[in-house]
């Protein structure tokens, strides 16, 4: 869309003061963005450090104990959190300290403007401000994803325990999760409650993924 410039109302001395204030604000913008980025970096660093205190409130910390589907979800959340955190760190550092590489002169100095130095500084201020804004957004995304990963790890369903099917000489086939084994007596947690089996009367045992056959 084309922008048109036309004459405005008659100017007054106050208008020059406003124009001058705008110029001064733009001239000092890069310094403000840099110092603002440093403050955000410190604040967000403290926020992430505070998350470590979550470790004091213990929950499940081993995702191998989780249901495989939920373990995969936790893995994806942690990967996304790591990616967002790394990108946020790079962006905020870029806003605070500038690009970590040199630009070609033609990209920095715009020969088409009357004040290339001022234009270059404003372009850098604009790019730094954008980097800071996205860095802050991504930092909060990182925190949210990390918290979600911890939450799913703590409250996600447990991994299914190994099941055992026992074939008894009387024809019954109790099947369930092993509770205990002592003095030749095996206790299983079946869908119908706990069942104790005398192993001297067992013809065989089979580890199974699920108890589909009739249980004792």
């Amino acid at each position: 869309m084309t922008i048109r410039v036309s004459a405005g109302r008659t100017a007054e001395p106050h208008d020059r003061q406003v124009a001058k204030a705008t110029r001064e604000l733009l001239a000092g913008e890069l310094t403000r963005v840099r110092s603002g980025a440093l403050a955000w970096r410190n604040g967000l660093g403290a926020l992430l450090a505070g998350l470590i205190s979550f470790g004091l409130v213990k929950g499940r910390s081993d995702i191998t104990q989780l249901d495989p589907l939920y373990a995969a979800v936790v893995g994806c959340l942690l990967l996304a959190s790591l990616t967002a955190g790394a990108a946020a760190a790079v962006l905020i550092m870029r806003a605070a300290h500038g690009r970590p590489y040199a630009l070609t002169l033609r990209k920095v100095v715009d020969e088409s403007v009357a004040d290339p130095a001022g234009a270059a500084q404003q372009a850098e201020a604009s790019a730094s401000e954008r980097a800071l804004r996205w860095g802050v957004v991504l930092s909060f995304c990182c925190v949210a994803l990390l918290t979600s990963a911890v939450g799913v790890t703590w409250y996600g369903p447990e991994n299914a325990k190994p099941l055992l099917q026992v074939h008894l000489s009387n024809g019954t086939v109790p099947c369930g999760e092993i509770v205990s084994l002592s003095a030749g007596r095996l206790t299983l947690r079946t869908s119908g409650g706990q069942v104790t089996v005398d192993l001297t009367k067992a013809d065989g045992m089979t580890p199974v993924d699920s108890c589909t056959s009739p249980q004792g």
Partner: protein, 97 residues
């Protein structure tokens, strides 16, 4: 090469029309960059009109449509006060799409 005219904070009804005639607006992510010629001193100048500035005080926000513009040429004019720039000319423009 002619000597630059002395610095003087001044406006004239013709400045805005003359500047609008030489001005090339260029839209950026954060506003409009105006490149043109100062109607008083005749030197090339560049004036960015931002739509937002990082941590900009609300009191300095310009009026919605009328944008005050001042000469920002890089020529050193005699009697320019410390910390000032351009030749001192100023005027108002309107930007529209």
């Amino acid at each position: 090469m002619t000597n630059p005219i002395p610095f003087e904070i001044v406006t004239d009804g013709t400045y805005a029309v003359a500047f609008a005639a030489t001005c090339t607006p260029h839209e950026t992510r954060r506003g409009v960059q105006l490149t043109g010629t100062c109607p008083r001193c005749g030197d090339p100048m560049y004036f960015p009109v931002p739509v937002r500035v990082f941590q900009r005080p609300a009191s300095a926000t310009p009026a919605a449509k009328t944008e005050p513009v001042m000469c920002t040429c890089r020529i050193t004019h005699p009697r320019t006060p410390e910390g000032d720039e351009g030749c001192g000319a100023y005027w108002n423009i309107e930007l529209s799409k």
